[in-house]
């Protein structure tokens, strides 16, 4: 047996803008025994993907594998010529990329693409390959495995596509499978199913795998051994248990600390007795497309949502992609007029459109977009980005403006020297800070944060969360924190609202979200967040895909979660709309089930897994 993969002294260099050679992977050595899964973890820029690509004998444009040896199975990868590499890739080593949606050709059927590696390398006949593909579809727990191959990539979900990509990789029984952040782009509820499928096929087939990720909790489920990377250097290597529970390196310890959401609570303000809440959303319905005869948009995204944010408080809004959480922020900011319902700021109704709002109303609500790369104009300098709202809202000019820009930079812990830099030259974390500072420049009452930490590395994200907590404490700003990550939301928000398919299914304060009973969807979200220990994946019961109820999707009156709900009651849930029920802990849920039922369901499951 021995080692399936042996890497020694790997060095990769790249050229920077000035044409100087920079070493981006420094002297990395490791081995992976046959049938084991090795995880490469680190933040962006740590070289983990570069190493993964080097295993395929590939270096990105501008990069060069400058030294070392890579042995996969019997093959000395770096000595292969172009033709041999073509044979090697796909047959001996396979790659599962982060974005399956971008990796599939939208105009060919899934089966055509899944069998392709086997047929172009002449390993299997088309017929044998198709039979094997179906077998893999079964193993990966894909729905309708016999026929899913006939569909086109856009006809399956993102999580399914990711699993199909794994099938494509495994069809040649490669000596090595590289999984490069395969679940990072997925929702937690989808991620758990994908992880389970990956784990099963990797174990069943005895495949050797390299798993690249920045998420320690995910890695804990998949890997036998972990290598921690920083700036292209190996900081720590060891068995999963040891790295997770007794990390030796300081950097690993930092990484572990950042991954555990710390409670960054600020004493929640008492609801002001006389004063109206800062923001109140009443019966909000909004969506896209032309309004129909009933006055509702053709594609409704939010339905009858009620929310309130007290002065100085933070409201967390969670839900998976498509739940309408970003739309909510857009409606509140005025970018998308609501079809029905109203948004009140300080008790006054805000006009639905931007044009009708006064400059002062616009100033009071600022929105911070998810992706700082696109939220800052790449051609503008930091000074200009921060200076513009100062000019627009506060009429600051010249020296006064420059001084305030410097103050803002200080507030977000960035050096004042950065003012002259263009947005395109900053790092991801710096950009996100500037993004936040631009909102602060307006001196708003409320900042809408749309997934502000989702695109960031754990360590950087933790720093941004700290900064937000500090700003709350010092400036008394309120936040609406939109996220798909319930553990972060539970750690930093005073109140939490859970959206599912555009409806608010649960609201409550932080305490109410710490222990059951929960709405079944909240329960699912909480249970799907990977825990940082081995075995969690096995202990978490698989949620069998319940067959959707045909009549359910038609009516928008009944519960939207019906198809996925483990607690649904036939004859009730699929007939009448669920009532809003207040639970003892103060949470409010949209469900037919009684409090006792909800609590029991949760307890029953934990008992079953213990």
């Amino acid at each position: 047996m021995g080692d399936q993969v042996l890497v020694e002294g790997l060095r990769v260099t790249a050229r920077d803008d000035q044409g100087r050679s920079v070493t981006i992977v420094k002297d990395v050595s490791f081995s992976v025994p046959k049938g084991e899964v090795l995880a490469l973890i680190g933040e962006s820029g740590s070289g983990k993907t570069t190493i993964a690509l080097a295993l395929m004998g590939y270096a990105r444009a501008g990069c060069r594998i400058a030294g070392g040896t890579i042995q996969v199975g019997e093959t000395d990868v770096l000595s292969l010529d172009a033709d041999q590499l073509t044979t090697y890739r796909g047959a001996t080593v396979a790659y599962v990329a982060q974005s399956a949606a971008a990796a599939f050709n939208p105009s060919k059927t899934i089966m055509d693409q899944v069998v392709e590696p086997a047929t172009i390398h002449g390993l299997l006949t088309r017929k044998a390959a198709e039979a094997k593909a179906v077998e893999l579809f079964h193993a990966l727990a894909l729905p309708d495995p016999e026929h899913i191959g006939r569909r086109y990539p856009h006809q399956v979900s993102g999580g399914q596509l990711q699993r199909l990509m794994a099938a494509m990789a495994l069809i040649t029984d490669p000596a090595l499978v590289i999984l490069d952040e395969p679940t990072t782009a997925l929702d937690v509820t989808t991620q758990i199913e994908a992880l389970r499928a990956f784990k099963k096929v990797v174990r069943d087939r005895g495949a050797t795998a390299v798993y690249v990720s920045h998420d320690l909790a995910v890695v804990a489920q998949m890997a036998d051994r972990i290598i921690v990377l920083k700036n292209g250097e190996m900081r720590e290597a060891g068995a999963t248990e040891q790295v997770l529970h007794a990390p030796k390196d300081v950097y690993t310890q930092t990484l572990m600390a950042a991954a555990r959401p710390q409670v960054r609570g600020v004493a929640a303000p008492e609801p002001g007795g006389v004063l109206p809440p800062l923001l109140e959303v009443r019966d909000l319905t909004a969506g896209y497309g032309r309004p129909g005869a009933d006055g509702l948009p053709r594609i409704p995204v939010l339905r009858d949502v009620d929310l309130r944010i007290e002065r100085g408080a933070t409201l967390g809004v969670i839900g998976e992609s498509g739940s309408g959480k970003s739309t909510l922020a857009r409606v509140v900011a005025g970018l998308l007029p609501a079809a029905r319902g109203s948004v009140l700021l300080n008790g006054q109704v805000l006009p639905p459109t931007l044009a009708a709002r006064t400059r002062d109303q616009l100033r009071r609500i600022q929105i911070v977009f998810q992706n700082a790369d696109t939220a800052l104009n790449p051609g503008h300098s930091v000074e200009r980005i921060l200076g513009r709202p100062l000019e627009l809202y506060h009429g600051l000019k010249g020296e006064a403006r420059d001084r305030r820009v410097a103050e803002l930079l200080d507030l977000i812990r960035l050096p004042a020297a950065l003012a002259g830099r263009r947005a395109g030259e900053l790092s991801g974390g710096q950009k996100q800070r500037i993004n936040l500072a631009r909102a602060l420049a307006a001196e708003p009452d409320l900042i809408l944060c749309d997934e502000v930490t989702s695109a960031l590395d754990t360590v950087v994200a933790a720093a941004i969360l700290d900064l937000m907590a500090e700003l709350r404490r010092e400036l008394g700003v309120s936040f609406m924190f939109i996220s798909h990550d319930i553990s972060t939301v539970r750690a930093i928000c005073d109140d939490i609202a859970v959206l599912y398919a555009g409806r608010k299914v649960e609201t409550g304060n932080r305490a109410a979200f710490q222990s059951p009973p929960f709405h079944p969807y909240t329960d699912l979200l909480i249970a799907s967040v990977p825990e940082m220990r081995r075995g969690w994946l096995e202990e978490t019961p698989a949620r069998e895909a319940r067959s959707p109820i045909a009549s359910a999707s038609n009516s928008d009156q009944i519960c939207g979660f019906l198809d996925r709900c483990p607690l649904r009651v036939a004859g009730v849930c699929d007939v009448t709309a669920p009532p809003r029920v207040r639970l003892a802990q103060g949470a409010e849920v949209l469900c037919h089930r009684s409090e006792a039922d909800l609590a029991a369901a949760r307890l029953g499951r934990s008992a079953g897994t213990a």
């Binding site: 970018l335 939220a375 104009n377 051609g379």
Partner: protein
């Protein structure tokens, strides 16, 4: 650049600033950019002072023979009527550089401005403008030129307008597709949510991010305008004899090609160097932006 030039003109002490900036600009260019800049500068200079340097009258028949070779008296030979080619090229450059450059600038700026207006103005204005532009595209340019010349008589301003009108829709189409995409970017949305006006959105947020592709488009369009103008001249609708732009100088001498006449060589080279120069310079500009960022 303009920000620096304006104060420099007002206050003499600031003058070195322009020189320093020009020097920095020159240093920031790549080799091909420098070649382009030199070629463009040469032709602009020729357009300005060329007619003064011309040894003979533009329309004067001075050579003893037609299609003469190069000689001391006529360095670039003589044309199909026995006129001095050097003099004709020096005078013709003014029409090509002036007219074609002006028309291309007019077409690109108008197209870009309308596109920005359409992108930030909402659906109805966008639709209306786009359909009008589509209608313009459907009119064959030469026929349009014929009709306009027939109606108003040939003149330089009219040629300018014809060339501009012909190429505005193309520029508009390209600029609009970019502007509409940029309009959906988060930073434009952020500016909109801040309460910025349409003009600011177009000028400060969208335009700077589409200027380089539009400059590349401008380089291409400039070449088209040169071809259009010489086509018009060939039909007798363009620059009126005895004057001629570079394009018509090629056209009128093509009959001599079969006899190995050299008269066609100089104007053809002139067009080639001018268009290549413009495109080299424009291609070097995005690189320049990056390099200056690097210095900062």
């Amino acid at each position: 650049m303009t920000e620096a030039v304006v104060p420099a003109a007002a206050t003499p002490p600031a003058k070195p600033g322009v020189v320093v900036r020009a020097a920095r600009f020159w240093r920031s260019l790549s080799l091909s950019g420098r070649v382009g800049l030199a070629l463009v500068a040469f032709w602009v200079a020729t357009a300005v002072v060329g007619p003064l340097l011309a040894p003979y009258e533009v329309g004067a028949i001075v050579a003893p023979d037609v299609f003469e070779g190069f000689s001391a008296a006529h360095p670039l030979g003589s044309d199909y009527l026995g006129r001095d080619v050097l003099s004709r090229v020096l005078s013709g450059a003014r029409y090509t550089v002036g007219l074609a450059l002006a028309a291309a600038v007019l077409a690109s700026t108008t197209g870009t401005a309308l596109a920005l207006f359409a992108a930030v103005s909402g659906r109805w204005i966008d639709e209306a403008l786009s359909r009008v532009m589509d209608a313009f595209i459907s009119i064959p340019s030469k026929v349009l030129a014929l009709v306009m010349v027939a109606a108003f008589g040939s003149s330089i301003p009219l040629l300018l307008v014809i060339a501009a009108v012909t190429y505005v829709p193309g520029a508009y189409r390209i600029a609009r597709s970019m502007a509409v995409n940029l309009n959906e970017m988060d930073y434009v949305q952020a500016a909109r949510a801040r309460g910025e006006g349409r003009f600011y959105l177009a000028r400060a947020e969208i335009l700077p991010n589409m200027i380089h592709p539009m400059l590349a488009d401008f380089g291409l369009r400039f070449v088209f305008v040169v071809l259009l103008l010489s086509g018009l001249s060939f039909l007798g609708l363009g620059v009126q004899p005895p004057n001629a732009d570079l394009g018509s100088l090629v056209r009128e001498n093509t009959s001599g090609l079969g006899d190995g006449a050299l008269a066609v060589l100089a104007p053809a080279l002139a067009i080639a160097t001018l268009t290549i120069g413009v495109n080299l310079l424009i291609d070097a500009l995005p690189g320049r932006a990056r390099r200056i960022q690097g210095e900062a």
